[in-house]
């Protein structure tokens, strides 16, 4: 019987050496370890052996069985690894093929500038106000110290709908609205971005454009406050090294009035074609709120003073992103728009 066992062991060993597939391995497993296997049969026939030989043969069979089991397990592991490797190889792809594009939208450059300005001024305690674009003569002109027949109304030929209604020519209309709406006549700090309209259309003017208006009303507000505020604006919105320059000007709703230039963002003030060799670029109009405006909007000019400023946002967007022509902002070519997705 010992010979038989040794034969089974060597046969199994030989078969396992030759095995080349998971299927063949399973067959071997059934053949040598199954219920009907030779080893099982040997165990069944143990009863026929002399009593003293039984434990010897028994342990011998179990020993061989264990050996075969281990050998099969090892083979199984080998095949599992091989199968996995084959599977991974099959799943190999060309990682250089183009991706499936997940669409990413973009924010219009003018609105990006609006949000930046809002964030800056909100961080300084300003509120963002809005007003109608189809405005009345009262808010757009009269309450801003531009009575009927005022020559300054000529500076901004307007789109009238009726004698009373017009598309607002300036976000300054919201100044008057904010002051009148404030029934307690308490201090005001507000910023108002929005669309404005004038009867002009050329390379540097569009009949529709975007402005942001700022207004601060309180006791003891001075020109120095306006200057300091606009210095912050220039540094944070245009660039840290930006300088500003005030030029006396005239607007009916402020007195004194100033146009404000920033140092050229391109040449830093040395002079280039962007700033027409002057080193400065005009970006906004500003001034101390005219006492007539304060009075008409319910604030006592002997107690309160204030500053206001208004700037064109298309120009700021053009500086910030290097856009050479204002018309690109309104053409809305998707190749242009999708560049502003960060």
């Amino acid at each position: 019987m010992k010979e038989e066992i040794a034969k089974i062991e060597s046969e199994a060993k030989e078969a396992l050496e030759k095995v080349d597939s998971t299927q063949a391995l399973n067959d071997i497993k059934i053949k040598y370890l199954g219920k009907k296997s030779e080893l099982s049969n040997l165990l069944k026939e143990m009863g026929k052996l002399p009593k003293e030989e039984r434990p010897v043969i028994g342990s011998l069979v179990n020993e061989v069985r264990k050996k075969i089991e281990e050998a099969i397990l090892e083979k199984e592991k080998f095949f599992a690894k091989k199968d996995l490797e084959e599977k991974l190889e099959k799943e190999r792809i060309d990682i250089t093929l183009p991706s499936t594009k997940i669409k990413r939208g973009s924010k219009h450059p003018v609105n990006r500038v609006i949000e930046e300005i809002e964030d800056l001024f909100v961080s300084m305690g300003y509120t963002v106000e809005t007003g109608p674009e189809l405005e009345t003569d009262k808010f757009c002109f009269e309450l801003l110290n531009l009575p009927q027949g005022h020559p300054a109304r000529d500076m901004q030929d307007s789109f009238y709908i009726t004698d009373e209604y017009l598309l607002r020519t300036q976000t300054s209309a919201v100044q008057a609205r904010t002051m009148l709406a404030n029934e307690e006549k308490s201090p005001i700090r507000m910023i108002c971005p929005g669309k404005t309209y004038r009867r002009e259309d050329d390379a540097t003017h569009s009949h529709q454009f975007t402005q942001a208006e700022g207004l601060v009303i309180d006791k003891n507000i001075s020109l120095a406050d306006l200057k300091g505020t606009l210095e912050i604006f220039a540094k944070k919105i245009i660039g840290e090294n930006t300088k500003i320059r005030f030029r006396p000007s005239y607007f009916p709703f402020t007195e004194p009035s100033y146009e404000v230039d920033i140092s050229c963002f391109k040449c830093g003030g040395k002079g280039c074609n962007i700033c027409k060799q002057t080193g400065w670029i005009e970006v906004l109009g500003s001034g101390m709120v005219h006492p007539n405006v304060l009075r008409m909007c319910g604030y006592d000019p002997d107690k309160y003073s204030g500053f206001a400023f208004g700037l064109g946002l298309e120009r700021i967007a053009m500086f910030k992103y290097g856009i050479p022509d204002m018309r690109y902002l309104y053409a809305n070519d998707v190749r242009f728009l999708s560049q502003f997705e960060r």
Partner: protein, 736 residues
């Protein structure tokens, strides 16, 4: 003559140091003339460089110039100068600078003046300004002239019938000699953009440039010894000196001789009374007319140097100076005899304006620390009389400064002369208050961008026909009174026309993938009431997902998904639905359009554009944000998650294909009771195996409870009930 040409001349030109051979094509070139020559190497205005060359075989060493070639605009040239070279006077020396010879070697400074500084529209005004800046005194203008013994008031009278003329002065100049003006007058007019005509007309313009006061000269012999100022009659006719018959209205101020209109005050004279070469005697008018009236009239007729000055406002002290100055110059350069006296009508104030101010007020508003001495000195330099008494500073401002009326105007002057850039900037010291902005709109914009759309910025003005499209809403389009073009004559109601235009622009530029959106205004009129709503508009076309074997064109359901995401993010989850509209706008596809319903009310529309509007598939959506955002939303709040697992059951039924899935889902939900937590369609099928006219809808039902794991014994009866109900309500059959 050039040997090989019938129009070229070969000239020997003495240029001082040498005699050059120059070929010239001008018809008026002749032997013995003194001419302007551009030598080799010269660069003329417009970038022309002069080089030595051969012209038809003849050497040419420079160019004999016309006035145009040296940069003088043709409107300022005589007829002869326009057609040929300019011939200088005989006293010109060869080799001399011709620009200097012609008196054109002057500097011209252009000023960009603000609208309130009408006083600077004169050399005198500029002199005061420069005097203030450099602290220098301004010299008086020479007004000296002789007058005869015949007082003008004996034979000439004024009759001012309107308040729109506050001052009117008239003087008479006799026996004027009409000729060319002296060069200095001509050249100074030219430098100011005014064409010289003759000495008399030129003097009126010259005095205006000097003093800022426009003058008008009449041929005295064509008047009837009288000037009247009145408002025109409606439909009154006047032929102005440009030979155009004008029809006037009661808003125009006219000058009349008592019988007929002879001029539009401040704007243009009449043809009948203009100064001609034969004019002998002149009536000089120096007057101030109402700025608004002149502006309105000049807007209709022509804006001129004179009307501009009336519009900006004038100082009546200057009116007296101007009329005397005109007499001085007429006597000197037109040999005129000036009649004694002046006809005067004057209702103006001439004394200085008194304004009281304090140093504190100045420094408070400027945020500066300027001393009293410095302030007083600034006012003195400006030519204002000033007296400081205690805290008070009394300032007397001359009438020429029409822009100064209130304290703030004085503060501006102090800041200007002191130098605004010397004032140190600081931030306002104010109580801390919270800043605030509308987060909803910001979030909405960011959401739609995150979903893959490009934000646009469009024009609100569209064509009237476009304004009526893409909607069946009831409104009146708002038209502009005075549009710039027919293309943009109406305010948009819907934003779809604006975005569709952008879509067309992109298609024309080869961009097929267009997924854009904008938040903007739409305008309406109901009866007499005007209004505007904030709207969100989306337009999508082309492929939305692009990948290898993985392309997906925009379809109704992608846009629907975007709208749902957006409404969810605004907090309207489970409160909206998409329903077939009762009345579909003509521009939409009748089978692929839905109203967007929130809380049972319509807030927008979405769908495919009609194939007649666009051959390509274009999906659009518009939502009225003004109205939608008025709907309150609940707070974002945690809901308990069940500890017990959900159980999913599928249910496939076959129904008539016109039955909408939402109706069935609603019925299932209602029938399923509280343990049915979700109902979703996961498959739609029609075709083989399904009866014609019907479709199969597969629903996934999710059951769950907060208290226990549900068993089939609890769920199955519910499903049986659902099957029975769908059979009863929709004649549904279980799909075999």
């Amino acid at each position: 003559m050039h040997p090989d040409s019938d129009h070229l001349h070969v000239c020997k030109v003495d240029v001082g140091k040498e005699v050059l051979n120059i070929v010239c094509g001008a018809p008026n070139v002749a032997k013995g003339q003194k001419v302007i020559v551009a030598l080799n190497g010269a660069e003329l205005p417009g970038g022309v460089k002069i080089k030595k060359g051969m012209i038809r075989g003849q050497e040419s060493n420079g160019m004999i110039c016309s006035l145009s070639e040296i940069g003088i605009e043709s409107k300022f040239q005589s007829e002869e100068d326009k057609t040929g070279i300019h011939v200088l006077g005989n006293d010109a020396k060869p080799g001399e600078d011709p620009i200097k010879y012609m008196g054109l070697d002057d500097e011209v400074i252009d000023f960009d003046l603000t609208a309130n500084r009408g006083d600077l529209l004169s050399i005198l005004g500029m002199a005061y300004e420069i005097g203030a800046i450099y602290d220098k005194k301004v010299k008086d203008i020479d007004l000296s002239h002789k007058e005869d013994d015949e007082d003008i008031n004996k034979t000439f009278s004024l009759d001012i019938k309107t308040d729109n003329c506050k001052i009117f002065l008239a003087k008479r100049a006799l026996n004027v000699e009409i000729k060319e003006s002296p060069d200095f007058i001509k050249n100074r007019l030219l430098a100011s953009g005014i064409r010289p005509i003759n000495n008399v007309v030129d003097i009126s313009n010259y005095v205006m440039l000097e003093t800022g006061q426009p003058l008008h000269f009449y041929d005295a012999d064509s008047l009837n010894g009288k000037i009247e100022v009145r408002m025109a009659e409606d439909d009154e006719k006047l032929t102005t000196l440009d030979d155009i018959e004008r029809t006037l209205t009661h808003d125009d101020i006219v000058i009349s001789d008592g019988k007929r209109a002879i001029g539009l005050a401040g704007v243009m004279g009449g043809l009948d009374t203009e100064i001609e070469d034969t004019t002998k005697n002149v009536i000089i008018e120096a007057a101030i007319f109402d700025s608004v009236k002149v502006r309105l009239t000049s807007k209709k007729i022509v804006r001129s140097e004179a009307s501009n000055r009336f519009e900006k406002g004038l100082d009546s002290n200057r009116t007296y100076i101007a009329i005397e100055r005109a007499c001085t110059l007429l006597e000197k350069y037109a040999n005129a005899t000036i009649s004694k006296g002046t006809c005067v009508y004057d209702k103006t104030e001439k004394e200085d304006k008194k304004i009281d101010i304090t140093l504190e007020k100045i420094n408070n508003l400027l945020g500066s620390n300027i001393s009293l001495d410095e302030v007083v000195n600034i006012f003195r330099r400006l030519g204002f009389k000033v007296e400081a008494k205690g805290n008070n500073i009394e300032v007397l401002v001359p009438r020429r400064r029409i822009d100064i009326d209130i304290q703030e105007d004085l503060i501006e002057e102090v800041g200007r002369i002191y130098g605004v850039n010397h004032i140190e900037g600081k931030l306002p010291v104010v109580p801390t208050t919270p800043g605030n902005y509308d987060k909803n709109l910001r979030n909405l914009r960011n959401k739609v961008i995150a979903l893959g759309l490009n934000e646009t910025l469009s024009y609100i003005l569209v064509n009237e026909k476009e304004a009526l499209k893409f909607t069946k809403d009831n409104f009146e389009p708002i038209k502009l009174l005075d549009p710039m073009s027919e293309d943009r004559n109406t305010l948009r109601y819907s934003m779809i026309p604006s975005l569709f235009k952008i879509y067309e622009y992109n298609i024309a530029h080869g961009n097929k993938e267009v997924s854009i959106f904008e938040i903007g205004k739409g305008f309406y009129k109901h009866g007499e009431e005007y209004g505007e709503d904030l709207k969100l508009c989306i337009l999508m076309s082309g492929d939305f997902y692009i990948g290898i074997n993985n392309k997906k064109q925009v379809d109704f359901y992608i846009l629907k998904g975007i709208v749902e995401e957006m409404l969810d993010s605004l907090g309207y989850e489970n409160r909206y639905s998409f329903v077939k509209p009762k009345d579909i706008p003509d521009e939409f596809h009748p089978g692929q359009t839905a109203d967007i319903i929130v809380n049972g009310k319509k807030y927008g529309v979405m769908g495919l554009l009609h194939p007649e509007v666009s051959e390509n598939k274009v999906f659009v959506c518009e939502i009225n944000l003004s109205k939608l955002l008025e709907l309150k939303t609940g707070k974002m709040k945690y809901k308990e998650i069940s500890k017990f697992p959900n159980i999913k059951k599928d249910l496939s039924i076959v129904v008539d294909k016109n039955i909408e899935s939402l109706d069935i889902a609603k019925l299932i939900k209602k029938t399923g009771g509280s343990n049915l937590t979700n109902v979703e369609v996961f498959d739609v099928y029609e075709g083989k195996g399904i009866e014609e006219g019907k479709r199969s809808l597969a629903f996934s039902l999710t059951f769950g409870s907060q208290d226990k794991t549900l068993t089939d014994d609890e769920i199955n009866p519910v499903i049986e009930k659902i099957i029975a109900m769908t059979e009863k309500e929709f004649k549904a059959e279980l799909r075999k």
